[in-house]
Symmetry: C3
Subunit: 125 residues, 3 copies
């Protein structure tokens, strides 16, 4: 298959800052993350690292699409976990429309986090 690299996005999120932000605004977790994302993150006693990595993934996708925050909804970019543990992306709504307009046929997502910082890289093909 002939492919073309459409965009790449990276995002770093400080875990402590995510922790403070979520503590300050308890409704934010629901606004930022889908039910499935919350269920996965909350299996951990401290879900903050996982939330930070998913937040980074959403921002990385927006950068790969070349749009600013607010151009797509937070729930429209969802991190999905295969049984193997491999993460992937599911786009819906405006995010899916925008990706289709740009000709994106496939996404690659990779994430990493330490106790201090979380990172995600999204690549649009």
């Amino acid at each position: 298959m002939e492919v073309d690299l459409i965009g790449i996005g990276v995002d770093l999120v400080e875990v402590d800052r995510m922790r403070r932000t979520l503590a300050r605004t308890p409704t934010l977790v629901e606004r930022l993350f889908t039910d499935a994302e919350r269920a996965y993150c909350e299996r951990r006693r401290d879900p903050t690292e996982r939330f930070a990595a998913r937040f980074a993934a959403k921002e990385a996708v927006m950068k790969a699409l070349g749009v600013g925050l607010g151009a797509v909804g937070w729930h429209e970019v969802e991190v999905v976990r295969a049984e193997s543990g491999r993460p992937s992306l599911a786009l819906t709504g405006r995010a899916a429309d925008l990706a289709a307009e740009l000709g994106v046929v496939r996404w690659h997502l990779t994430m990493s986090h330490t106790s201090r910082v979380a990172e995600a890289i999204a690549v649009a093909e």
Copy 2:
């Protein structure tokens, strides 16, 4: 368009270290960054995070090209900002010559920074 991935480079820069380095050697800002880069960074009261991200971008490009520091001039790899806010790369001089020799037809650049660390990833197609 048929493309080939020529190289990828990542670079991390600690914001505090960049702050100390720039404070110690005031002439360094002009040596490292172009007029347009300085103007963009200095719109912030504290421009250090933006300087760190741009320094990381220059180093990421050198890694993607497979050359060491000093092989190209600091001003020859410039981070340009579109009106949309999307960053891109403009290469001149030896950097442009080297990229042309390697067959680079397009660059992708993505950057992120927290208050502690800045990162850039450059991909040469």
Copy 3:
């Protein structure tokens, strides 16, 4: 050459945590790193940053292959340094078999480290 992006992996490793882990289990260095990797890292008075970057590279490769830790041996993913200083990957054993099954024809590797954190990104084409 027509290429296809098969996978991308990123990994972050805290340098202090790597230092404590290696201090606690002195045999770990030999289990994790090949002779050539150890020789290269130990040219530094403090080899920890380099060890952390190489450990991140091994984990990034596993993520790019879509497998969990333990699916391939630590020595089966080796970071090799060209005379130019450019790092690359050499896969052997199960890691090489798995990459061949997935159709990987080429790897790209880039690494960066500060005194605090090391990062590696591996791209499988």
